[in-house]
């Protein structure tokens, strides 16, 4: 009888484990499926070192190849983080640039832990889709991996390109505007002010700042994007203290929204 019982218990134990294993096997399959999906778009650093073909037969592109790629096509680029705009629920929006051009990464899949690793200059390989939103060319639905390497772009002076058709060729780059004069904006009461909270003055401290500045008789609008530079940053507070007529130098990223809409990160009053 004891033997029979021992046999029964052993059998139940074995089958229980098998049952559990079976359950895990299913879960494992799911996990594997996810991994399979991931490997279509991301490969490990070691693998990447051996081959340039990294995702669905899409090779790592040069900036020129990226620029020539059709909208909605899959793109793979290696680029360097220049600034981080925001992170929210595992999605990061990042300005990146290499020696030849810039890439705006919108809502790229990114854990909070990885977001901390994306310091200025960090090299990353990005796989995503080229898209355009309101004139802004960007990479969306992207994944990335961190690579060895570092590059921090210096600001390209584009002051003379303001108002020209060539400016768009430098879209998303880190750029400089020098010697502009702060012009008046109209606040909610029709008064002349040096800046507005939101584009029409409907906002409050903490919202985006909009201000006008001119050169060569033409006035342009600049933005301090509050996710990129919030109201604790030096640039935000510098702009809040601007006076109409101030002559300023600026640096920032050449963002686009229905036309050029630079996201300013540094303002120096001369």
């Amino acid at each position: 009888m004891k033997k029979l019982l021992a046999l029964g218990l052993s059998l139940s134990l074995v089958l229980s484990l098998a049952g559990c294993a079976g359950g895990n096997a299913d879960a494992g399959n799911e996990a594997n499926t996810e991994n399979v999906v991931n490997t279509e778009t991301v490969v490990s650093t070691e693998e990447a070192a051996d081959t340039e073909v990294v995702a669905d037969d899409v090779a790592v592109m040069t900036y020129a190849e990226y620029a020539a790629a059709e909208l909605d096509s899959k793109v793979v680029v290696e680029t360097y983080v220049q600034a981080k705009q925001s992170w929210w629920e595992d999605k990061a929006t990042v300005y990146t640039q290499d020696e030849n051009g810039a890439y705006f990464l919108y809502d790229m899949a990114c854990s909070a832990e990885d977001y901390e690793k994306l310091t200025q200059g960090t090299k990353i390989r990005v796989t995503g889709y080229k898209a355009e939103w309101a004139g802004e060319v960007e990479i969306i639905d992207a994944t990335f991996e961190i690579l060895e390497g570092n590059y921090v772009a210096s600001a390209t002076d584009v002051t003379e390109l303001l108002g020209t058709d060539e400016l768009i060729n430098l879209q998303n780059r880190y750029v400089a505007f020098n010697g502009l004069t702060v012009e008046a904006s109209k606040d909610a009461d029709g008064n002349d002010v040096a800046f507005l909270y939101n584009w029409d003055g409907s906002g409050e401290d903490g919202n985006d700042l909009y201000f006008n500045a001119s050169i060569n008789g033409q006035t342009y609008t600049f933005t301090v994007e509050s996710y990129l530079c919030d109201n604790t940053t030096e640039v935000y507070n510098t702009v809040k203290n601007l006076q109409i007529g101030d002559v300023i130098d600026m640096e920032g990223f050449l963002y686009w929204y229905e036309g050029v809409n630079p996201h300013i990160t540094t303002v120096t009053v001369k």
Partner: protein
């Protein structure tokens, strides 16, 4: 410029955590009288449409209210999207630092209610003789309950109670470049249909040898752009009888009608006849530049629409001259039109001091006065939520002066308001439950994903939609919403489980037999009985 989307996923997820950590609070009871000897400082979280006139109206309302009630100070905090308000309220419920009065949507209140007594049920306040709607002690000309448009008030009822008062109401409108429609050889029908919109949109996709669209001579033309794809799916399903959800929270959206709608979307996305705000940009920008024929957006966005729109994100040189028609959204059944009712409501949060809550209620109620209602409704294609305001001489005069200028009396805006007023009985709202906000997001995301996939030349077939449904179910945790309600049938056990349980039962039976055998054996030995 593109910040609202960042909160959508969070909205999808927070409902599951609900308001854990929030302190339980006693239900609010209306005080016998309002103590005017004490100072009360309350906060009002408001949403504006990035519109400085609206901001000014809030500020004026606060100033006027504070003059009437010098012992109440109202602090205004401005938001430009509902998602951010929702997120911040959820965060503040857990720390017991909610605002006193808050602009919100009933979908969101359903989540707030997971915190015990966090939102004040307004039923008793409505009818309170002294401080209720039109109450004897109220220091302003407040509407009585019956003067609130019944359809709008009903939207604020969650379960058995009113948890909000309506503030403004709008619906969606189709803003149409009528000039282009006629240039293509079509005439706008009396009631816009989906078939008509798709047909005209397809006709507009023809290009010349250089790649310029024949209709506008430009490189860009997206004939049909939808701003809010969640509304698009919700309304298509409502109009066609396809399932969306039940009041109980049962999710019905993953069905064949939905799939058919998505096939249609895919068909027209493939030709470039259709796109969305999230994929391309604001419909108004394309419409005003002559790059779109049918732009569907809220009536509350009317001031951005048309050749002479007072508000615009595009430069003046990009504007194209055309005649703008404002029509209800396309329909499947022209005899039985259906369109969504939307617009902000106001809720009052519970506090330890019932006097503070009463002060909050008085301010919330002040937002229903004609002064506030009419002023705010005039800023966009909104309508006042009280018949008292709608029937006022001032509001009727405003409507009658349509087209007098391109500012206050901008014709497209007033047409949009009239569209809402003329179709109140055709409006509907979706069931509200904890998680309904996530379902709404999933509804729109399916259109977004399908459109993007088509643009990326992915194959769209039944297998694609099976995967899409599963992805949405998982991403927005919709399967867990179902579990909150009635118990869910789990179906038959797998064979492996049946075998395992049978064996386990057999082993337990054998163990039982062994134990009994041992006991009997001991008894027999005790009584020295030979077996």
């Amino acid at each position: 410029m593109r910040k609202m989307g960042k909160y959508l996923l969070l909205l999808a997820l927070v409902f599951l955590t609900g308001c854990h950590g929030s302190k339980e609070r006693e239900a609010f009871e209306v005080p016998e009288s309002f103590d005017t000897t004490k100072e009360y400082e309350i906060t009002f979280w408001a949403k504006n449409d990035t519109n400085k006139t609206q901001t000014g109206i809030y500020e004026q309302a606060i100033a006027d209210f504070e003059t009437l009630y010098p012992n109440i100070k109202v602090n205004l905090r401005l938001y430009t999207d509902y998602g951010r308000i929702y997120n911040d309220v959820i965060t503040n419920i857990s720390t017991d630092t909610t605002p006193n009065v808050c602009i919100t949507y009933p979908d969101h209140i359903a989540t707030y209610l997971t915190g015990t007594n966090s939102v004040v049920a307004l039923d008793e306040l409505f009818v309170n003789e002294k401080y209720g709607l039109g109450g004897s002690e109220v220091r302003f000309d407040s509407p009585v309950k019956e003067e609130i448009v019944p359809e709008f008030l009903k939207e604020c009822m969650i379960g058995e109670h009113y948890y909000a008062i309506p503030y403004m109401r709008s619906t969606e409108a189709c803003y149409i470049n009528k000039t282009y429609v006629e240039a293509l050889g079509y005439t706008l029908p009396e009631v816009l249909t989906w078939d008509f919109v798709w047909e005209v949109a397809e006709a507009a996709t023809k290009k010349d040898a250089e790649g310029n669209y024949l209709l506008n001579g430009q490189k860009v033309m997206i004939p049909f752009i939808y701003k809010s794809t969640d509304n698009m799916m919700i309304q298509m399903l409502k109009q066609s009888g396809g399932g969306y959800s039940e009041d109980s929270g049962e999710i019905q959206i993953f069905n064949d009608v939905t799939k058919q709608m998505l096939y249609t979307v895919a068909e027209h996305a493939k030709t470039g006849a259709f796109s969305t705000f999230k994929i391309s940009s604001y419909p108004a920008n394309f419409l005003n530049a002559g790059q779109c024929i049918f732009a569907i957006d809220s009536t509350a966005g009317a001031t951005w629409m048309g050749s002479h729109a007072p508000l615009s994100d595009i430069s003046e040189d990009k504007f194209v001259e055309f005649e703008t028609a404002v029509m209800p959204i396309p329909q499947f059944d022209t005899e039985n039109p259906k369109m969504i009712s939307q617009g902000p409501s106001v809720c009052v949060f519970n506090k330890a001091d019932s006097q503070e809550v009463l002060a909050s209620w008085l301010f919330a109620q002040y937002l229903l006065t004609n002064e506030v209602q009419i002023a705010y409704a005039r800023t966009e294609g909104y309508v006042p939520v009280t018949e008292k305001a709608q029937d006022s001489v001032e509001y009727k005069d405003y409507l009658s002066r349509i087209g007098e200028d391109n500012a206050l009396y901008y014709d497209v805006k007033i047409k949009a308001s009239k569209l809402v007023l003329d179709n109140v009985e055709d409006t509907f709202v979706t069931p509200v439950f904890n998680g309904s906000a996530s379902l709404r997001n999933a509804a729109g995301q399916m259109i977004e994903n399908t459109t993007k996939s088509v643009k990326r030349k992915e194959e769209i077939n039944d297998a694609y939609f099976t995967d899409l449904f599963a992805e949405m179910n998982s991403l927005y945790r919709l399967d867990q919403i179902e579990n909150q309600g009635e118990s869910k049938a789990l179906g038959k056990l797998p064979t492996e489980s049946v075998v395992l349980l049978t064996i386990l039962a057999g082993v337990w039976i054998l163990m039982g037999i062994y134990v009994i055998y041992g006991v009997i054996k001991k008894i027999l030995i005790y009584f020295e009985i030979e077996v």
